[in-house]
């Protein structure tokens, strides 16, 4: 998860807070980020039982707004949606006000350039803009793509100078309701705007842990004291990138650059559900030929959950074999603290993708028994 870099690492507005809270900092996506505080295992379990606070300010929150500006209700939303729909295969037009959707940015071969969440704002007066959050490591690429494709039609406003934090876990809603009264009425993938000390922020009910929870985009000036106060609540603890990774893996969620990359299509990635009916029928998105063909005939390989049957974890890069023949590769692997056993994800040929299929994982040169498993490993606990 860490990476060596000679260039100057950036810091999020919460850097001093991480140091104060005892975070162990590593280089990640060009930022100095906390990989752990008290320990990955304890932080993971805390998030599944209490409320874990994650700094995700390294990610790429942004707004994409019609050149003509906002206002204009449904027509303006249809116009900005048509623009972004040239780059992604999801139905953005049909989003209800306040609703968000996971999608993927595609290249012309139907490969995934990033995964991202697109949100339609609430209220007629705000239509004509989309709130988009892309991955931190991919934001420069994604934003360059947006600007090039939509030049003269839409304006990109970066918001990655603000704090973006997540509060995740079964106690998150009670804590959030103290700070953002009314947010408890949101359901999964809905958002609402708030003002904190006169500063606009966006509260979304979503996350990357499989638990109920929220993500908040808030200017640093308003966010720093708010988070400091949140930490005084005994239900809230800071959580590092280590537990973020084990939580999302148990929840069966993809990590870009590992489980998704520019060669892999959304159908291979088992993300066909991000392509709604209207878009499939129209087939008007990058790489539609390949994607529609894979939808019809099935992909040659498929992302699956993998359950090692012994105690040894299998890590990213481990070869997957059946009868000594290579049929795939592990793309994420480790130990699931809640599942209390090793867990992994990877790609296998379609013939071996059914849950229960016996496979071997090559770990340190030795074949170890495993089986294809249904995802997620731990039930998702979203507020529907």
């Amino acid at each position: 998860m860490s990476e060596a870099s000679t260039e100057q690492l950036k810091r999020t507005p919460l850097y001093e807070s991480h140091v104060k809270m005892g975070g162990k900092l590593v280089a990640f996506a060009g930022y100095e980020m906390p990989v752990q505080f008290e320990g990955v295992m304890a932080e993971h379990i805390w998030t599944r039982t209490q409320a874990g606070l994650f700094d995700v300010s390294h990610m790429g929150p942004c707004f994409l707004t019609l050149e003509a500006g906002i206002g204009g209700g449904d027509d303006a939303h249809a116009e900005i949606s048509a623009l972004i729909e040239t780059l992604v295969p999801s139905d953005i037009t049909s989003l209800k006000p306040g609703q968000a959707r996971l999608t993927v940015l595609l290249n012309d071969d139907g490969g995934i350039l990033d995964d991202l969440i697109i949100t339609r704002p609430l209220g007629d007066a705000a239509q004509g803009t989309l709130y988009i959050v892309v991955n931190g490591a991919m934001k420069e690429q994604d934003w360059a793509i947006f600007e090039k494709a939509l030049a003269g039609k839409a304006i990109l406003t970066r918001a990655d100078d603000r704090i973006l934090f997540a509060l995740q876990g079964p106690k998150a809603v009670d804590v959030m309701a103290d700070f953002f009264p009314g947010c408890e009425a949101l359901t999964f993938m809905q958002h609402m705007p708030f003002e904190v000390n006169g500063q606009r922020c966006i509260v979304s009910r979503c996350g990357y842990t499989g638990e109920d929870g929220f993500e908040v985009l808030i200017p640093a000036e308003a966010g720093l004291p708010l988070i400091e106060e949140m930490y005084t609540d005994e239900r809230v603890k800071p959580i590092g990138l280590g537990a973020r990774d084990s939580l999302r893996l148990e929840a069966g969620l993809c990590l870009y650059g590992h489980d998704l990359n520019p060669e892999i299509s959304p159908i291979e990635a088992d993300l066909a559900w991000v392509i709604q009916k209207r878009r499939r029928e129209a087939g008007n998105f990058p790489g539609a030929d390949r994607i529609l063909r894979e939808l019809k005939d099935g992909p040659a390989k498929k992302r699956v959950g993998i359950r090692p049957l012994e105690r040894a974890p299998a890590r990213e890069g481990a070869e997957i074999q059946v009868n000594g023949e290579t049929i795939g590769v592990v793309t994420s692997g480790g130990f699931g603290p809640t599942y209390d056993a090793p867990v992994a994800m990877g790609y296998v040929t379609a013939a071996h993708a059914a849950p229960g299929t016996k496979i071997d994982l090559i770990v340190r040169g030795k074949a170890r028994p495993a089986e294809v498993a249904a995802l997620p490993f731990v039930p998702q606990n979203y507020k529907r």
Binding site: M1, R311, P313
Partner: protein, 123 residues
């Protein structure tokens, strides 16, 4: 009975020509929660400096290097079912292997407790 330490944070406790090998409390603290330990079987031969065991935390796998050459007499099979012992008792119950030391002169290059403690403080 004397205990020696390596820069890679292994320890070896020597009694006659037998050595008990493990990783230090400092190393265990750096690794975090240990979820799996892979050890060689009795009879395996270790060469000083070679990776002979693997410790896995939630996040990553780390090699453990032989502080000294020798033949494995016994490995701590109890760690298979209780890898968390490494986090709790790295320098006592959670020993990795006992070996028959091939050449006691290899111990000369290792650190004693005082030197190792000073070494860790400098990290």
């Amino acid at each position: 009975m004397t205990t020696y330490y390596t820069k890679d944070h292994e320890w070896v406790r020597v009694e006659g020509d037998t050595g008990t090998v493990g990783i230090t409390t400092y190393a265990a603290g750096q690794l975090g929660d240990v979820v799996y330990v892979e050890l060689p079987e009795a009879g395996a031969s270790l060469a000083k400096g070679d990776g002979f065991a693997v410790v896995e935390s939630v996040k990553a796998a780390s090699d453990v290097y032989a502080p000294i050459s020798g033949a494995v007499l016994e490995s701590n099979t109890g760690l298979a079912d209780a890898p968390e012992k490494v986090s709790e008792a790295a320098e006592t119950d959670a020993w990795f292997v006992r070996i028959k030391i091939a050449d006691t002169s290899e111990l000369d290059g290792l650190m004693d407790l005082a030197a190792y403690t000073a070494y860790c403080e400098g990290l």
